[in-house]
Symmetry: C2
Subunit: 360 residues, 2 copies
Amino acid sequence: MKQIVNTCAAIQPVNAELLPAIQRRLDVLTKPPGSLGRLEEIAIRLGLIQNTTAPHAVRKQVVIMAGDHGVTEEGVSAYPAAVTPQMVANFCAGGAAINVLARHAGAEVLVVDMGVAVPITSPGVLMRKVAPGARNFCRGEAMSAEQAEQAVQHGLQLAHELAANGVDLLAGGEMGIGNTTSAAALTALALNMDADKLDILVGRGTGVDDAALRNKCRVVRTAVQRHSGASSAEPRGVARGLAWLRAVGGFEIAGLTGLILGAAEKRIPFVLDGYIVTAAALVAAEMAPSIREYLLAAHCSAEPGHKLALRQLELKPLLDWDLRLGEGSGAALVLPLVEAATRILAEMATFESAGVSGKI
Amino acid sequence: MKQIVNTCAAIQPVNAELLPAIQRRLDVLTKPPGSLGRLEEIAIRLGLIQNTTAPHAVRKQVVIMAGDHGVTEEGVSAYPAAVTPQMVANFCAGGAAINVLARHAGAEVLVVDMGVAVPITSPGVLMRKVAPGARNFCRGEAMSAEQAEQAVQHGLQLAHELAANGVDLLAGGEMGIGNTTSAAALTALALNMDADKLDILVGRGTGVDDAALRNKCRVVRTAVQRHSGASSAEPRGVARGLAWLRAVGGFEIAGLTGLILGAAEKRIPFVLDGYIVTAAALVAAEMAPSIREYLLAAHCSAEPGHKLALRQLELKPLLDWDLRLGEGSGAALVLPLVEAATRILAEMATFESAGVSGKI
């Protein structure tokens, strides 16, 4: 746990002292001040994170973490758990949506087996399997305390390695049949919501019908009732975040929590994808409250709980496109927009250099 | 006028018969049906417009039309009219936001002088100058009937030339100090709004202060009161659209109206930028009611009237980023997202080809 605590202690607020310098640069470019709206906001955010007036987003990395969920035995997903390893193979073959979108954005894709239930044989997968699937958290804890720590540490370590390789921008994605159920339960714990109000956190995931949705609500309520007492008994911070993961998390979610923390420690902006990655960020925010300053929310998904999770993190999504695929697809989709913000700052002419008149 | 009437008559609803085939293709790809939300919507829209189940967005063209506005003598802009030709020079030198964003999207930029007040000497500008600036429409008509027709025809003709050159996707942009005032007046006429309710159509443009905003509202009200009777006396359709342009338009706006119509005639999807380009689309919709099916709205700008104009066209913007620069910057920004939709359709594996299980 010491490594996690040290990382969290190292995550300080971004360097707000740079704000006036970046703002000055934006305001001499040939456009009315502020007229590029959120594009300027992104440029500023990246500069403050990367601690430079010239932020860059050339080396873009998507990390997809995969893991299985014992809670699928409660009938919470429209797809069989076998899809998790099948989709990992699809990622490796380059045929999934995330591959297409990452190629289009000029981003690399790395697939990590954090806890798929079956042995993964696809070439190119980074093996960080903590265990073959999380346990059914309706009946007990999803994982042990040691496993939760180990999964977070794998994520931290990977972020450090990617930072050493010169990655400018990280995007998180996930694959795990059943993981919107885990995300809903984690969000309920993080938002400290009453069990009888949880239904608004539960959506159709990959597309369950009405009866399965009611069952999924029941499963999340059961899990939260079972686990909220123990986790809220833990002291706030790293211990409580780990307790949430232990209770109702998944290995891919715990790995993403570590990845998000490690990225912030190395001042790499992290682009959140959908509900599951955002749940990992809620855990990271419990561990390191400044984490939200290092995050960009790619989109608000069709999962109803996602909006509440983003609100908790005070993040305004870049897109509202009813995406609900996961894999990091929404995050990859916005990478060209994020990169565009850096190019505006780097490549636009100034009023002076272009000989354009200022305001009357 | 005959050419314009013929083009408008040639613009039919998009080929909805292709919808089931495109939908089938989307639904065999390795993702839950519909899970890519608006990305799937865009793929379908492009397919229906291009009349193919394999739409493409490889050759992307941004057309920036420039023109000046006599109404600037009423003090409606925060910047002097001299900025119009200065920004044209900046576009030609590659230093404006639109250049950066188009380069980033892999799009070509073409700058057209539709009616800049001074001679344009920048290399590479397509010269289609109808007159050196529209007249002050507070005191009379912005242009003659012949000039309005000529400007629209230039736009039509250019769309036909770009279609012949194999352009897949068109994005419209504009430059013209004073043209948010013209856009507000056009929107008022197109929405048939009472003069005393017009203020919600008037925004700060490049950034006028409160006093100038009040003055801008007065200018738009005066113009609409002066011209609404005559234009609503024209029969609906092409004649009325031309009457609006004649009354309160600008040469760049009229050219964009023609460009939008010509693109639809050639089944080229057209990406709208902000308030001004959308005002041109409102005129096009008066001339050819099916036009909206050929349009994508890039964003909802910070100009308050833009939202109402988009609602009138029944278009849902892709971004809501408080952009208010114009030039086509918002349209260029979303081109990578639009292209991504085509790549999803073309490049993703199917459940069968990837060996992924379907729903339980």
